[in-house]
Symmetry: C2
Subunit: 371 residues, 2 copies
């Protein structure tokens, strides 16, 4: 299958090396990892493990930081249903960046985007409600409410539309058509939408009335929005944003990207413990076809979705992760044990997250940015 990676489609076998080449981004190498660790004062497991594996202009951003010009972090999510654990990756990174670099975080929840791009979402009231659920799930990840601004496009339109128009003047249909997989049959709201996503890259500069560097942690499928935005914001007099790109959390059945539209392959933040157990039990692992073969030859943690879940989100300690991988490789630990352990961790995470959501709920408005 031909590889296709746009914000609206991730199909086929995702070859990250070719994405790096095609998108024109740089790999995060050891030197950059060391520099980030040194400035942050501690390593970040997602960067060390190559989950965030590529970037644009990170060295420029860190130069700015070293000169005393702080940066802010911008990321977001388009609401379409309950968030999955895969959706957490850029937000976990954003929260870490906030903590270690004292960065303000702007989180855009474009509640119109899926309405415009999905045939089955026909009511903006629905995405509006989902947006607030997402805002709560994100706020519950430990963000500092004094330094975190969450906004919905429809509720911050006074600021967003005006600035989106400034972007749009410089973006023709030709420039975006192929990059987004659009045709003449695409609706004009979806065509315009990338202008709003671009505004996040200079929103703090608009609010502060001075140029502030911006760092965007995101899944690499979103890169196209910012390839276009980076060209334009320079023309508007703003810094081009730096970007850190993450890989996709694999699906439970071994798909290259965990899809939020296939419930069986995905864990949602509101799945109950039995559902989580059932889903993880049905996951593809890297183990041999029988217990006897596994004990004899061992398995491959890189092909094991259970091991990948540990790597991406559920075992931040590198040594402990290595022990888990070793158990799989050596054949000493069978799939059932890993699955049971991962199920416990995921369920504990979801339970804690729900508790945090309940705790934050009465304070959510303090995070929200409105006109």
């Amino acid at each position: 299958m031909k590889e296709l990676v746009t914000p609206y489609d991730v199909e086929g076998n995702v070859e990250y090396d070719s994405l790096v080449k095609n998108f024109g981004v740089d790999l995060i190498d050891n030197k950059l990892i060391e520099r980030i660790e040194k400035l942050a004062g501690e390593p970040n497991y997602m960067i060390r493990r190559g989950i965030f594996f590529a970037h644009r202009d990170m060295n420029w951003l860190l130069d700015q930081y070293e000169k005393g010009n702080g940066f802010y972090v911008y990321t977001g999510i388009a609401p379409s249903g309950t968030m999955t654990i895969a959706h957490l990756i850029p937000f976990v990174m954003a929260q870490w960046l906030q903590e270690k670099f004292d960065a303000e975080v702007y989180i855009q929840i474009p509640d119109e985007e899926k309405f415009l791009t999905k045939k089955n979402i026909n009511d903006l009231e629905i995405t509006h409600g989902l947006a607030y659920e997402d805002a709560l799930s994100i706020a519950a990840l430990g963000f500092d409410k004094k330094k975190t601004h969450i906004f919905l496009d429809t509720e911050y339109a006074g600021t967003m539309y005006k600035n989106a128009v400034r972007v749009a003047k410089h973006v023709t249909f030709s420039m975006i058509k192929d990059a987004f997989g659009f045709t003449n049959e695409t609706n004009i709201g979806a065509i315009f939408y990338t202008s709003l996503q671009a505004v996040g890259t200079f929103i703090k500069s608009v609010r502060d009335k001075k140029n502030v560097p911006c760092l965007i942690p995101l899944g690499i499928d979103q890169d196209v929005h910012f390839r276009i935005a980076r060209d334009v914001v320079g023309k508007l007099g703003y810094y081009k944003p730096a970007i850190m790109h993450s890989k996709f959390l694999p699906g439970l059945k071994g798909e290259p990207k965990m899809s939020s539209s296939d419930p069986s392959k995905t864990i949602y933040l509101n799945d109950d413990p039995e559902t989580v157990k059932r889903k993880i039990n049905s996951a593809i692992t890297g183990q041999q076809s029988t217990i006897e073969l596994q004990k004899k030859y061992g398995g491959d943690p890189e092909k094991c979705s259970v091991c990948q879940y540990y790597k991406y989100l559920f075992e931040p300690d590198d040594k402990k992760l290595e022990a888990i991988f070793d158990g799989e490789r050596s054949g000493k630990v069978l799939a059932g044990e890993h699955k049971a352990d991962l199920t416990n961790r995921v369920n504990k995470f979801i339970e804690n997250h729900k508790r945090e959501r309940d705790r934050i709920r009465p304070h959510l408005e303090e995070f929200m940015l409105k006109d």
Copy 2:
């Protein structure tokens, strides 16, 4: 020259009959004129003279009115500089409709439109300032501030963007490309923009949370926005707006449409008396090439831009207009006399209008609708 009539270009010889056919609108016939006069309680010179010459669904609108379902009036202007007297036509009609049909009036001033569609307008702050000048010029035409709502797209974006998105979902690039003369090199803000213009056709229904009939008086070049809007708003559950189309006030040099981008052919609302005099003196008339020939054969008021100015804006009394036309036809009145008289009338109008602007200025905010 091929005839081209879109909101962005009016070129060549405008044949109103062929526009009526191509756009699929109906002519305003004597029966409809009588019906409007009867319900209004008085004739309207612009309708009687065929300045407003075509319509969509006016009989439906008047049926609604007779049933006791009031309608509201929606029109607008995209700011690009000082308004010309040609720009006044739909607003003069809107004010009359307000008075005679007790209609609320919504006036959209899309301060982003010319920024998006004109290469030489590169600052939204400029169009924002122009928008307020336009708002003042419109308010000064006698609108009732209790029943008139003027809004800028960027200042009412919380309402406009959300509802524009609802429209945009139903409008593909294919559907608008040819109608607006767009290409793949058109910017994505200009492509999206018609969605915002469509919102005016149901803005009162959104605010009142019930379906309210809408009537739009406009220059026929704007019809395309509403051909598209009418298809969409039906899908959103709103009434299709009724429309009354006006012809273009001819340019002073006999052009089919007075262009606001050529100062010598156009009278601006802030032209000083000497400028008005100079412009009108250089106008093309329908008179013969010499005074002797004119006295002998007379001229043609339909080809005389001076006579047309009387007809469109500066002589509402039909009998007096006929006397002016007769003077031209018979050769009894020479061009110089008509020009001197028209100059007086235009200068008096501008003087009064300026005074009205000054009077309204401190109260302008009472007309403005914001989020």
